[in-house]
Symmetry: D3
Subunit: 341 residues, 6 copies
């Protein structure tokens, strides 16, 4: 079984039940999430050996997280214990024209206070085929950024495939700082993942003719973005972009593009009734990594990644409880939702 | 901060969880609702000083209500305490072709047994800019009708803007009695609010070419209704009508018209995935009052009212937990429901 | 009040709340279901005297079931008590492209271990007008098959109308065995009910030009299937087929055909937002039986059955909590879901 | 199976979960309760044919009640349908020194508005052995009182054993009126049931040396009360009194006395950890009726009644889900609560 | 109505349902708590005008708190908005020999980052009779300590009665630092409140002959502690000490002493079955302040404070939902927990 | 870290919330339990390397179990997958005089259908120090009995310490068969664990002067039982007996005896307020194994085992979420339940 290592943040996710707002809530659903751990969980559910590396305090909230993902098959043996707290975020699930909201309380977390030399990359990468991180981890703090860059470099040096999801978060850092720091990370990256906004905000690379709130998408524009990214970071083997058409908080169009070897591969398009879209992009990254690690063709890879992440939108929480067989059923064209007896 | 006074009924609202029917329920969600209090809560969330006046028994169910809306910023200092009970209603949330049902147990409530001279309108209207009531309050009892009429007259005399939502309820009174009593109230009303059925049932004023269950709507018909209302009640400054296209219990079209100064202003149209539509009309009234009190133009007012009430359909319960900034985002054209991080 | 007897299986149904998967669940909603009891409950809600016959162990899980359906007005006086267990099944509710899944644990149940001579059909059929069973009961065990055949034969001999829903379940038996056993039952059947797959898998009778997962349906194909069924089993008075277009797990098209007297009657078509589709076919069977027992015309019967089952899709659980008046409202064309105050 | 008829009130019972107060609640547990229906349910669980007679409106809250008790085996065929509402009460469960509170909203209920001639006692008493009502029903309204008296008289005339629990409720009527009305009912009563306060408040018959809040009880005092009751109402065959020692809302002592044939029989004493004590007295009445109907001796009867009601205190809600075998186990001396595997 | 001002911290309180541990939880009950806000809420429920002053970020979690306590009648108009986060704490409710656990995540909260000059004590103390803070606030940060001391001094200067609960928290500061900082605050304090450990850990003043874990208490020892406190801080008008006998997490003995005018007044002793003991000490402080503000005698004051806090132990959450009438009932000797109908 | 292997059954545990009975339930709490897995989980929480061996079907209910215990740190790598079902049991939690009830549906489970040669004991025992099984596994089926005996023998041969809890279950087998089969297993057992009933029912060895339901216990009697067991099975190194005094379903006395080297060691006695006592005996076994593996003295071992299992009674579910530090705190004498801040 191939090992993939992901490195980054995990937070306690607190969510009012159903469509309640925080101002209405008297209880909160307790799950966990974070871009990099979401990828690890998704990979483990698909059947890979996924190792998640982070830093967590020694308390029972952190232990509850470890127990949960360890139960889901994620290797947690390299998680560092230390620091004072785990980040927390609150999610209000939106519906129709009301957007979902995410309220973060993630400063001063154990992972933000990591020091790069706490991590033993030799041990972490033992047996690994691929490494994944995102633009969130470097945004947490300078030391977290340093750790991510050291990790990516260490992977590169060991011949381990590196993927990175730009994942720009405007509340964590400015686009200027993001551009500078991510610019240091990118030379070690093989596969760059982005949504329709990231490339522009982080690197100033703009998709022509795209109006995000209107949901109108231009295939040519995305190709152009990918071409520019590859031009800027010639080490890139490919650029994957998710194409989300946000009709409303309840319904989205969903498809993706994988640009590699100077060729753009567009996936099938899905219309989705959304249960929970947080983590949707991460399940896409996992689907892509799964495909690359397993040697799928570029077209198969983007189809697999989009199908896997399409299905994730029907799952509550950040984590993707989607099995390989379910992705394959959808890939074969059965999105009919007929009861499986 | 401008003060708006609303006067009328509030009931305990009991609702089976999710889509369960009463015959399936073993617990009931406990909230509160009523046309006039819904308007007050919505205004308070938008940032106005909303004062709600009613009559409630001295018990902990009523106190729970007071605590809740006081917490939401509604001024409850003029609520009278007395009487034996608070009305109760049961809501079954519908889906697809199955309609939501509402079962009322509201007779003999404290507000129905109010006597007009219990209310000190001088104190109630201190600092007030606007007064709102609906056709439900006069329908509760003759004394409640008398109180509403006295209130509207007192407002008019003080130069306070008066709005009234016709809100016909066939289980409370006949259309004949409604027409007679509301006919006494209307001379004090500046802004009349109605849905597509009210004008006809209460005043026999019919929207031509409208088939309610089919959902087909004629703009010309609604203009005609408004014109006839203004002709009948020349004191009216404007008539606002919500235009609901009921495709099913899960999906509605939603728009509105404000007719004033002999001109009809139609809002943008929204397609809504419904979370809870009870209270939708009241959030429209609140949006309209908010707009008028803040001196918006007629077109802006109807756009604001429809956007505010569009968003309310995504909220569980009668109350609209929608903030000003959220309405403004939608008004700017972003109904995409993209996650707000 | 006309009595209808249904005979077959009932299981404990365990379902994670909302859209949670089994791997996420810490509690399970506890209801009951089974093709034949679903029909009985649906008939009782529509106002008929429905008697359900099965075999259940003497324990409090079985008693909880009896209490529930007895409360719903189903006659449980002929239920046998014995055996060791009641079947159990787990339902994961799907959404969008993710299908609902059903996991059965039904072997060795009391009903599977029934012996035909435990049942006193004279007593069971006292006052009965109609008898209904499905292809699930014979699939449970040879003795259950024998009991069902004896029951159908006994009904036929007493001039009681017999209906049977083919309801093929591939995990219970092979299509070969299903064809053989159902072939023994069919000579006693007056009304055969099937979905778009059953006729082919059980009897090898294929609807031409139908691609199930694509959702494309051919009216002519269904007529052909019905004709072939009647040709094979000339005792049949009619064949009813549900036409489900599975756009996704969240949305379906829904209509049906009743073929009788050499004529096919197609119902109106509904687009459904699904709350719970398990039991949808059973509510169709109940609607059809209700119509036949009450002497409706073929066209009215298929319209009634489809409307009744359309509404069931908005109800959580296998049981259809739909009243006669609600079906009649929909039949009159009001599927607008407007609030019933 | 012997039939016992009970006549009186049933209300919707709404209770915050656990130990929450109404001011903290956002949901309410939905059950039903009322002195006379509680007795009927308890008798049905013990295995008797219990028929409950009341008057209920035609709506789904009342239907939910009927479904529930019909499911529990109570005969509901003689329940009248009419009137506008069902009473409602709110229960806050107390703990330690904080008492449980009960808030009633029961005025103008269908049963309070009953007219005595709506009831056909010939049909109601067909096959009946015993009749039970309580002091609550006559307190609801003059017409309800008349109905209860007519019922008791009708039972007496038919040789049916009549029991009545005094059940004084100070919020419903004064002790003066209670004394007068109950004085009209008592001549038809064979078995009078009371707690430690009722005899004094209703008939001014006082237990000497009893301090209720201190929990101190005098056996001689209770004998004296019973003797005085029998002296006042010489038709009485027996007087049963529950002896509750209220240490706190969480713990009670529990025992009882049955005085008959000039002899007082005291039961064993139990110390109870309370789950829900509402309905405890009604389960005692049921246990006594069960015993009398089945010809138990006076000592066995009081032991059975106290054991049955002791066990009820471990059950949530008004209804006693206690089976005959469980009472018998406790009667044999096993109150050890060892797991029954 | 007399106004009492409390100043300090409030945190989001997250608690697994029932007796679940964090490692078992999938949802968390969402309430709020903190020593000083608990006192304010308790006072408001008793009927005083309680004003709570703190600093909170501008987000919906903080707004949910404000709405809740504003609804409970607490004046929130002087709460500062600013900073990044609100503290969070997790409570696992213990039972029997397993202790409740509290896990804090309170660093870097808005209140810890307060600067003393943000507070306008003239406005805050307008109309105030009393001021209360605790040893937790100064422990949060040096600036919070400075603010508390400034506040106490400002109160003293205005002739406002000052009370302070020592409330030592070992995870926030050392006993050395606590002694030093609290030593600066104490000269402005009139009434010092402490539990059995605080005086020793903060000021090294030890209750002789007390073994905390054994639960054995010596009245003489507590008098000695109070005498030593008064000797050290001669401005003190009185010292109040709660005497908790921890038999287990489920059961406690509870009483208290108020030492004033050189005389020790001991309250009645209660044995408590615990629902939630967090906040118990704060409800004692509130009861004491209520008594002092209302001019009760020393003996009445300690009896009232202990009775009020005894009842709080039956309430879930930090806040004491206990009304004046309930305290008075218990003071009159009725702790029987008899149902209040 | 020392490895302990446990072998046996695990079932899906379904439990109505709180004190609800099955007849009241509409949802069931979903956990897992079984004598041997309970021991493994308890050991893992105490910090040992616990490996659990069983046989489970390939479905998501079984996977949910594996995920849960893998998350809790239990080694699940040797669990066999196969068979059709996992056993199920229903628990009604008792209170006061009402006993908890357990309803089993465990026949035909994957573990009951195990064949001894499916298990590779060389692999299973790699690195193992101790092996544990109970009398339940051999009771499931002859092949399960054979597997357990082979396992115990294999452990013995490898010098691995073997413990066995007699755990007699009368619904699974007769005491005659139990005696015969357990007699075959015992020669490989080093440490025999029993409750107060097991030795008598399985081997006819009776504790003199013990009346189980009365709760009276005789120390001498238990010593006598242990002596007789050792006499019968001279390979035994020790016999451990739990001494439960069942005052009621809510309260128990709890202590234990370890007899080894011809000496009886009695533990301290605890009075317990019970949250959930199912699994209490298994946590005792785990505490004993933990002690033996870590070389504690006999007295320390029995104190540790009783303290660990005392704490388990405060935990919901079969599994013991008790950490080593918590046991040690209690062992040091602090059972005061004071809040751990």
């Amino acid at each position: 079984m191939k090992r993939v290592v992901t490195f980054g943040e995990v937070m306690l996710r607190l969510c009012p039940p159903g469509y309640l707002r925080l101002l209405q809530a008297t209880s909160l659903e307790m799950t966990f999430g974070g871009a990099e751990v979401n990828v690890a969980v998704s990979l483990a559910q698909l059947g890979l050996d996924a190792r998640f590396v982070t830093r967590l305090p020694k308390n029972d909230v952190a232990q509850a997280f470890i127990n949960q993902v360890r139960g889901l098959g994620v290797d947690t043996t390299k998680i560092l214990r230390g620091g004072e707290r785990m980040g927390v975020y609150f999610v209000e699930k939106g519906a129709s024209q009301r957007a979902s909201t995410v309220l973060y309380d993630r400063a001063n977390s154990a992972i933000a206070e990591i020091t790069p030399d706490e991590l033993n990359w030799d041990e972490i990468f033992e047996g690994a085929t691929a490494f994944h991180t995102t633009g969130i981890t470097p945004a947490l703090s300078d030391s977290a950024a340093a750790a991510a860059i050291v990790g990516a470099k260490a992977a590169k040096e060991r011949g381990i495939s590196v993927s990175c999801d730009l994942n720009y978060r405007k509340k964590l850092w400015s686009s200027e700082k993001a551009g500078r720091v991510m610019g240091e990370l990118m030379p070690y990256v093989d596969w760059c993942i982005a949504n329709e906004e990231d490339a522009e905000t982080v690197f100033g690379i703009k998709a022509a003719d795209t109006n995000l709130t209107s949901g109108a998408l231009s295939h040519d524009g995305y190709i152009e973005v990918a071409q520019k990214l590859v031009a800027r970071f010639p080490n890139l083997k490919g650029v994957a972009i998710t194409l989300r058409e946000s009709y409303s908080a309840s319904r989205n169009g969903w498809s993706g593009m994988l640009y590699t070897d100077s060729t753009a591969h567009f996936s099938r398009h899905y219309d989705i009734d959304i249960v929970d879209r947080v983590g949707g992009g991460d399940s896409f990254a996992a689907g892509l990594i799964y495909s690359l690690v397993n040697g799928k063709s570029a077209q198969d890879a983007i189809e697999f990644a989009i199908a896997a992440s399409c299905l994730k939108h029907s799952i509550i929480g950040d984590f993707s409880y989607i099995k390989l067989a379910e992705v394959e059923t959808l890939l074969k064209g059965d999105g009919s939702g007929r009861v499986q007896r």
